[in-house]
């Protein structure tokens, strides 16, 4: 009896912690639909006017485009580099592996402010001004370790013998990579892309150091708007961001699940057919 009550206390505490994590964000979304013109309570009815205002705010639309472009480029570069590195780490044994591994995760261990300062000052010293390119470089360095870790964790489960089977059946290493390894790696690569995109899309600490004057991403735009006062537009923008960053991973997850299900079903079908034909020949 006593253990039961202890367990239910833990359950209640857990629910409270989850509430603590989500309630403030839920309030942002709630207030985004509030008709009140000052962006706070009380609730004065349902309205979409703030989303309309967002859409017509050039600065916000521009920031959104910048963030999107930056996120996509970062994710493309970072995932390519990170996947190659993860392959090397999982597939090969070589001298100095531990050092390399530490080096690859180093950007996580260094506070982002320090990383931002170092990169900014170094490039300024080389007379390279703040630019979109600097933002991209910064985001790539910053997201790379996450991609390496995420892809590495998922690569471990891909068995080597499938590739060896392909090669022993006459496929060249390059053929094997594109026909066998890459399709098997696809979920890992997609996870890496998603991770780096979201981190880049959300980043503010480094971005504030690196961004050229006049260029804003969505987070820095929100930050700039916050300095005046909290407006209902910020809540609406927050709601859009939340929906964007949560819907994206969920859609990606279900797409990859559907894809892998289809692949399993397809391979089952081929297996069955192979079995049938071998039975017939027998």
């Amino acid at each position: 009896m006593k253990i039961m009550s202890g367990w239910s206390l833990i359950r209640i505490a857990t629910i409270l912690v989850y509430l603590f994590l989500f309630a403030p964000v839920a309030v942002v979304i709630l207030l985004a639909f509030n008709a009140n013109q000052f962006g706070g309570f009380p609730i004065e009815g349902f309205s979409l006017r703030w989303f309309d205002a967002l859409w017509n705010n050039d600065a916000i639309v521009r920031a959104f485009k910048t963030s999107l472009l930056l996120g996509l480029l970062t994710s493309a570069v970072s995932t390519t580099l990170g996947t190659l590195a993860a392959l090397a780490m999982v597939r090969y044994d070589f001298p100095g592996k531990r050092t390399i591994s530490t080096l690859l995760v180093a950007p996580i261990l260094i506070p982002e402010v320090v990383l931002a300062v170092a990169l900014l000052l170094f490039l300024q010293f080389l007379s390279m001004p703040k630019s979109f390119g600097l933002l991209l470089m910064g985001h790539v360095v910053f997201t790379l370790p996450f991609v390496v870790l995420v892809v590495q964790a998922r690569l471990v489960s891909i068995r080597r013998d499938v590739e060896e089977a392909a090669m022993s059946l006459g496929a060249t290493p390059i053929q094997t990579f594109f026909e066998i390894t890459l399709p098997l790696m696809l979920p890992a690569v997609m996870a890496g892309m998603l991770f780096s995109f979201t981190i880049s899309f959300d980043d503010i600490t480094g971005t504030l150091f690196w961004k050229p004057g006049g260029v804003e991403t969505v987070p820095t735009q929100i930050f700039a708007m916050l300095r005046n006062s909290i407006s209902p537009e910020i809540n609406a923008l927050g709601a859009v961001m939340v929906i964007f960053t949560i819907a994206l991973p969920l859609v990606a997850a279900s797409v990859s699940r559907v894809l892998s299900m289809r692949k399993i079903r397809a391979s089952n079908r081929t297996n069955n057919r192979a079995n049938n034909s071998s039975e017939q020949t027998a």
């Binding site: 190659l84 300024q124 927050g238 949560i246």
Partner: protein
Amino acid sequence: MAADIAGERRAPWVLLSPSLATVGLLLIIPMLFIVVYSFWLRTATGADQVGFYLDNWIEVLGDRFYRDILFQTFAIAFYTTVICAFVGYIPAYFVANTPMKSKAFLLLMLMLPFWISYIIRTMSWINILGTSGALNTLFLSIGIIDEPIQMLYNQTTVVLGLVHYLLPFMILNVYVSLDGIDKNLTEAAQSLGCTGWQAFREVTLPLSMPGLAAGSLLCFVLAAGTYITPIVLGGPRDAMFANLVFEAIVTQLNWPLGSALSLVLLALLGVLVVIYTRYLGVDQIAKSFK
């Protein structure tokens, strides 16, 4: 055959070279550069005077102002970490010991905050605690207060914002180590006469220490390096060390001084990371990505 072996030996380096070049050129060399840079001087004309001057370091290490803010930064990071450890342990324990079906859901919910923008999560507290926020509106309507009270813009709200941001890191890290504990161990302890609480204190808690330590390190390092939260949720006197770095670099354009400041932050947090890896290894942190 010999060519094959050489190729096999070269392959990992070919795969690694783009990443290593990126980290080397955009992280390692810039880091070394700011070490050198911190000994230069920014003259009144705005040009850098190359040389070996200790002025920046004397200013950073000798000035009371910097020391006070450094102390305040570590205090805020410390409170945040302790609160995260206490508040985060319970849900981690619940998730680790709950039946499989709700576990997947609870874990997914724990991942969600990572996908929600940090600036949104930080500013969301203005909607709760601000003068026209949820709490003030509630208190006014039931008549506890006559006019809105100012709850925001102090050190407590900075810690609150940081806890809200960092709690998922703590919960996940503790969860990972709790989940790896063999359930038979606690059962064995109880069958040998331990009470449930004793079994937890003597078996579960010590075994979950690596996760708790990894989570604490992450929370502390991330909290000590923030400068957005104190600007959004803190008052004018709640500046943290990273705010000084930003001021020096972006506002005052005193880059050598900014280099020295960021190196102080790096060195102090680096000591923590080194102590930690000395005893527990980096692997624990990597575990939570699986």
